[in-house]
Structure formats: C-alpha cells, structure tokens
C-alpha cells in the first residue's frame, strides 16, 4: 500500500550508482521536490477554484442538484480532508488502525466552542485550542493504546473513544452539553469580545472581523457561484495541513514510521525504540483531527457528543481507505468523494428516480426505480458499505491505485512497442 509514496523505490535495479547519488540531492522548493510541489499546486488551484469547478450546472437546470459548490458542503470537503490527512499519517505510515479518532475531533470541537464562550468569537482561539486539547488528549490515549499492537491497539482506541462518547453524553454534560450538545449563549462571558452582538443576537465566528458566514454570490449567465469566507479559511488551513503532511511523508521521521510498519523486530534490534515514533505519529494525527473539529465549530459553533461515536471514527477510516491509505492525495480524494456522494445520494428521492427513468417503458421504469431506490436517499449508507467492501476486496490501494491501474493500461496501449523497463519506471512514477 505504501510503495506508491516512496519515490526512490523501483523494482528494477538502477543501472549505475553515481547517477542516483546526484539525484539524491535534487533541488527543492519550500522543501518539496518538483513532483510534490506540482501536486501541492494542483490541489491549491482546485481548492481555490472549487466554488466554480463544483458548480458546473446552471442554477435552474435539472442537473443543478449535482452541484456541490455551496459553502456548507465545500467546508465539509476540506474539513474532512484535514481529518483524513491526519488519520493517514498514522494509518498510512505505521499501519496502526485506530478506531477512535473521532474522539479527538470531538475534543477539538468542544475545546473550540468553549473558546467561543470564554474568550471571544475569533476563530483563531478555537483553532489553537482545539489542536492543543486534542493533542493533549491523544498523548494520554496514545500512551496507553500504543502499549499493544495489531487488533489490540484497534480495540483499545475504540474503547477510549466509546468511553469518551459515553462520558460526554452523560456525566460530562456541564462541559459537553450532553444530549443537546454544547451551544453558545448570550450569557457567555467572551472576555475578549462581546457577549451579545450589536444586533442583540449571539455574535458569529469571525477571523479578525471577517465573518465566517459572509458570502458573495456571482451570477454569470445561468450560473451562480458562492464565494464564502468560511470556506476559504478552511481551504487555506487545509492547504497548510496538506503541505505539512507532504513534508512529514518525505522526512526521516516518516522513514522511521514505515520501518516500524515494515518490521518492528528489526527496528528494535537496530537500537531504535519504536514507541516514541509511534506516539509522535499518533499525537500528530490526533492534532489534525482536533484541527478538523476546531474548524467544524468555527463554521457552525455547536458541538455534540455524537461526533465522537465510533461510527464517526469508522467514517474517517473509510475515507482514507477509499482514497488510498499511505498516499498523499488519497485521503483528500476519499473525503471529497464520500462527502459529495453522501450529499448527492441522500438528496435523490423516489420522484427524482421516476423522472430519470421515465424515458423507459412503464414496466421497465418501475422496475428500475424499485431496484435503484434502496441505494439512494436514506439508503446511502448501503451504497457506502458496498463500495467500501468492493474497494477493500479489489482495490486495497483505493482510488489512487485505481487511477494508477487505469493510467498503466492507458500507457501500455500507447507504448505497446516500448520495452518493459521504461514502462515499469513510469508505473512507479505514476504513484506520486
């Protein structure tokens, strides 16, 4: 699963050593190689223009329901992208499958809302606090859970997450709001801000005066594009998080983590203690989850305990696997994919289906509606489960691996006469 991320690996022996030695000191920009920089730039362009790219259909056309360019959904894309990028730092590099990462997202969310209540509505407070608290919590959970490996580790993280959820839902109600969730109130102190805004309402989250909910809508012909402050804040944070993840993946630290994944025994007998590396990876990924939680409450300042439930942890596992664990772009793709289809599929109802299939004769159309209906609307989770199984069974490397396979087939056709050597080389390069 990881080999596509390792640019130095190829199954073909290198022709001469000196040539590669020169390559070892390739030039970098911002500490990234050309290939990584290209990836970062492509992702940056896509996120900046997402409001346009995701709204390809005119607002009043029948296909407008496939548009995803509205702020709420785009915010979810990038926030869950951050969550999955962080999860991938743990799972992708070390192979340790945590089933409790939602707990860190939850802790981050609660910390964020508390900052809004105590300090003020600047999202900076929330973001900093969410990362810090999630980090602290993950030190504790990681320290205990990492004493075991394999399935035991998964169960321990699951146990911690369920414990946090149960406590947040019951005893910790004064801190977490219990069943109703943690909400802002006019009576909150907000010592660096106002308890009540000038219009008499609870103030809204902002970034030095820039309100998160502010949007500008551009009308171009039949098209509508919404540019939202909150989305762009999340997008910038996501790009920074993505950049940091690339740096981590290319660092000696990541090499150590991959070594732990590959052979913990050899690691021990090489005089290296794997524990601190694992704990560092766990805490970093916990902080990413906390960051996602902080951004979530910055967009919508309320947090509920159900955010910590293990099904929520399962979701981030799903995103990472679906996109491609161990790859850089995979988790972001997976998060976008799942959140997009969740949104689209849940919106399709019986009437929509009848509309689509009305071109067929009556009997056939009814049959098609009956067959498809269980998988859409409320049945989205069914589709998701099936998709998930298919990916694990046939495409353990996720969408990224799927793309590579397609690319390989395509290249093979094009260079039918080329020798196998260069083809294999391209294949390994396609991994980036």
């Amino acid at each position: 699963m990881t080999d596509q991320t390792i640019q130095t690996i190829s199954r073909d022996p290198a022709p001469t050593a000196p040539a590669h030695r020169a390559k070892a000191r390739e030039s970098t920009v911002l500490g990234l190689t050309r290939k990584d920089l290209t990836l970062l730039i492509v992702v940056a362009i896509l996120t900046v223009f997402a409001p346009f790219i995701l709204n390809p259909f005119p607002a009043d056309s029948a296909l407008a329901q496939f548009n995803a360019g509205y702020p709420d959904l785009m915010q979810r894309f990038v926030i869950f992208g951050i969550f999955a990028i962080g999860f991938n730092i743990l799972f992708g590099l070390t192979g340790y499958l945590s089933f409790g990462h939602a707990a860190f997202l939850g802790v981050g969310s609660f910390a964020g809302v508390w900052m809004f209540k105590l300090l003020g509505m600047n999202v900076l407070y929330a973001i900093v606090a969410s990362v810090a608290f999630a980090g602290l919590f993950s030190v504790v959970v990681g320290f205990v859970s990492l004493r075991r490996s394999g399935i035991y580790f998964s169960i321990l993280t699951l146990a911690f997450a369920q414990m946090s959820f149960a406590l947040a839902y019951s005893v910790l109600t004064p801190i977490t709001g219990g069943e109703t969730g943690l909400q802002l109130a006019k009576t909150d102190p907000r010592i660096f801000g106002q308890s009540i805004a000038d219009d008499g309402n609870i103030p809204v989250p902002s970034f030095f005066g820039l309100e998160m909910r502010d949007s500008t809508t551009l009308y171009m012909g039949g098209w509508e594009f919404t540019l939202n402050v909150g989305y762009y804040l999340c997008a910038v944070v996501m790009l920074v998080a993505f950049y940091v993840a690339i740096r981590i993946f290319r660092s000696p630290f990541a090499m150590m983590l991959r070594a732990v994944k590959s052979n913990q025994q050899r690691m021990n007998y090489t005089g290296l203690n794997p524990k601190p590396y694992m704990l560092a990876a766990f805490v970093i990924s916990g902080m990413y989850a906390g960051l996602a939680g902080g951004l979530m409450v910055s967009m919508d300042p309320l947090a509920g305990a159900e955010r910590m439930q293990w099904t929520a942890s399962g979701e981030v596992v799903l995103m990472t696997i679906l996109g491609g664990a161990g790859t850089l772009i995979g988790p972001v793709l997976g998060a976008g994919f799942i959140k997009y289809f969740e949104n689209i599929f849940s919106k399709i109802n019986q009437a929509t289906l009848e509309g689509w299939f009305s071109v067929f004769p009556d009997g056939l159309s009814d049959l098609l509606v009956t067959l498809v209906y269980p998988f859409v609307g409320k049945g989205w989770h069914l589709t998701l489960g099936i998709l998930f199984m298919l990916v694990v069974i046939f495409l353990p490397g996720g969408l990224v691996q799927g793309g590579q396979k397609l690319a390989t087939v395509f290249r093979r056709d094009k260079n039918a006469n080329a020798v196998e050597g260069p083809a294999a080389d391209q294949r390994s390069q396609a991994g980036e």
Binding site: F91, G95, L97, V144, R147, R148, S149, G150, I151, Y152, S154, I155, L156, L158, A159, F160, Q162, M163, A166, L167, Y169, S170, V171, L172, W310, T311, G314, V317, I321, P374, G379, H381, L382, L384, G385, I386, F388, M389, V392, I393, P396
Partner: protein
C-alpha cells in the same frame, strides 16, 4: 444482600448475550484467524428472524363477522391469521404466542446458510490478508447487512413479546428467604440464561467429544500441522463459521423479548463483545464465556444507584475501563493463549 443478588441476576442476561457473541467471535478467531466485525450483524439477523417469523404467523385474511358490529353498526371486519385457519383456534393461537421460541428452528438453517455464504464468498479470500483488511471488509459487510435490515424493517425497534407463559416475573427473594417482591426477576431472562448455558455447554461438548471438534481444536492449536495430516481443515472451518453464525443468531432470536430489536443492535453489541473477547483473552473459548458473564454482571453492578452516586457515569464506561486495565496488566487477557494476534 438482596440488592447484590438482584444485580447479579440482572447482569446474567446481558452477560449471556455477550458470552454467546464472544464465543462465536473467538471460534472464528481461533479457527480461521479472522477478525470478524460483522459478527454483531449476525446477532441482529438472528433477532430479525424472530421478528419475521412472528410477522409471518400473523399474516391474516380479513373476514366479515356478521354476528358482531363496530360502533357505527356496520358488520365487523375480523383478521383471522392463516395459522389459526390451518391449525384450529387454540393451536393456532399457541403457535403465534410461541413465535419467538419457534424461531429457533427457523433461524438455525438460515444462520448456518448465511454463515456459509459469508465464509465461502468473502472471508475465505481474506485469510492471508492483514488483520486491518479483515476488520475493514467485515466492517463494510456489517454496514451493508444493517442497512439491508433497516430497508426492510425500518429504523424503529420492533417489540416482539415472549410467550404468555413466560411473561411476568419470578420472585427469587421468597425462595432465598427474603421478603416477597424484594428480588423480582422476569421469567424470560431466566429462560435466556438457561438457553445460553445450554448452547455454551453444547458448543463445548461438541468441541470436546466429537472427532470433528477434536480436529477443530487441533487446528486452532496448529493449523499447518493438521493440514499436513491430510485432513481437509478448510471445509471444517467453514462449518465452524456456520456454527459460530448460528450461535450468534440464536443469541439474537432469544434476545428479542428482552429488548426490541433495531437495525443497529448488532453494532452496539459488537463493540462490547469485542471488548469481552479481548478481556477474556484472544483465542480462549472459556475466557470469552467467563469474561462475558463477568462484564455483564459488572455492568449491572455499576448501574446501581449507590454506585453511580459514588462515581457518576461509571455504568457507561465500566466495561471499557476494565478492558483498558486488563489489557495493560494482563496483555493476553484473563485466559489468553500466547501468540494469538500478536503480530
């Protein structure tokens, strides 16, 4: 004293369910080396077998009873279940009343079939894959199964009663010399406990005294060697999977009157059953049973008002807390074997 006895009794039925699910999980671990996250779904399917049979028995035809009228004076429409038609008034009513226990007969072939299909169709291909992959694919399967059930049965719990004869409670207190109504215990929970005990005893006897069980136990200890003896271990393991599925399914069938089944009950029980397996010791059948009852009873004690007043919220987290402590102090659980799942 009476409160303690009551809590122990209260813990027994949940403990029985944990023990039965954990037993199946352990059988699958031990024989196939697979971590089955879909095992909770099998428990749920069992429960819905009972619901289905109960519904089937109540399929009725509508007749107009001229002798009676409704409040508007029109002839009354009466629903007569077909079973009543076929078996007569009293026998038919008894069948409907006994739908849940009868569902055992109905559930066994279904669960075994489901188990076989799961093993041959999916799990088989994951023997050599990493545990993480096994967890993930069975997790996906669990989602699919629960969504299918949700599609057909809706999201709300479906109450399905126990037979008339087992409704009501049994006064344990008077038997033990306490005053009346001190220790009341619903009959059905008692039935559930004995049922679980019989199944557990049956599984152990099967493994202990049959040749088949002997081979399976040998295979659990050392799969390769048994394979070398020319015994078709794979086929036996498939049967074991069917058996484990049936155990989980029956646990579900009989649990229906205790708590109305819904589509996510499998997941709820799964998480706890996994904790049970880990506490008992991965790969240890007695460990799974022991830990199941132990944790069920502990959970019940932690729900006592006095305990909650002392440590708020303890009832919610006791099982997880115990699991964390056990895993950190006894790395292999209460009765775990060396080397199981320790890669």
């Amino acid at each position: 004293m009476d409160a303690i006895i009551l809590q122990i009794l209260n813990g027994l039925d949940k403990g029985s369910a944990y023990a039965l699910i954990a037993l199946g999980l352990t059988l699958i671990f031990g024989t196939l080396g697979v971590v089955n996250f879909a095992h909770g779904a099998l428990f749920m399917i069992g429960a819905f077998c009972a619901v289905t049979l109960s519904n089937v028995f109540q399929i009725s035809r509508t007749v107009i009873d001229e002798t009676r009228t409704d409040f508007l004076g029109n002839p009354l429409k009466v629903e007569i279940p077909y079973v009543v038609d076929w078996f007569g008034e009293s026998a038919g009513a008894a069948i409907i009343d006994w739908a849940v226990p009868l569902a055992i007969l109905f559930a066994i072939p279904i669960m075994i079939t489901v188990g076989f299909i799961m093993e041959r169709g999916l799990i088989k291909h994951f023997y050599k894959r990493p545990h993480a992959d096994q967890i993930l694919v069975t997790f996906g399967l669990a989602i699919v199964l629960q969504e299918v059930i949700k599609y057909f049965y809706g999201a709300n719990p479906i109450p399905t009663p126990a037979p008339e004869a087992f409704r009501g409670s049994f006064d344990f207190g008077t038997m033990l010399g306490f005053e009346a109504n001190q220790i009341l215990y619903p009959y059905w929970r008692l039935v559930y406990f004995f049922f679980a005990a019989i199944i557990i005893a049956g599984v152990f006897a099967f493994l202990q005294f049959t040749t088949f069980g002997m081979v399976v136990r040998a295979g659990m200890a050392d799969r390769e060697t048994v394979g070398l003896l020319g015994i078709d271990i794979d086929r036996r393991f498939t049967i074991m999977f069917g058996l484990a599925a049936a155990v989980a399914g029956l646990a579900g069938v009989m649990y229906v009157p205790i708590s109305p089944p819904n589509y996510h009950m499998g997941m709820d029980f799964l998480v706890l059953s996994f904790v049970v397996v880990v506490v008992g010791g991965m790969g240890s059948l007695p460990g799974a049973v022991l830990a199941g009852f132990l944790l069920g009873i502990l959970e019940s004690f932690a729900s006592m008002r006095e305990v909650i007043a002392f440590i708020p919220g303890i009832n919610q987290v006791i099982i997880y807390l115990v699991a964390v402590v056990i895993l950190l102090t006894l790395p292999r659980g209460l009765m775990g074997r060396k080397g199981v799942m320790e890669d």
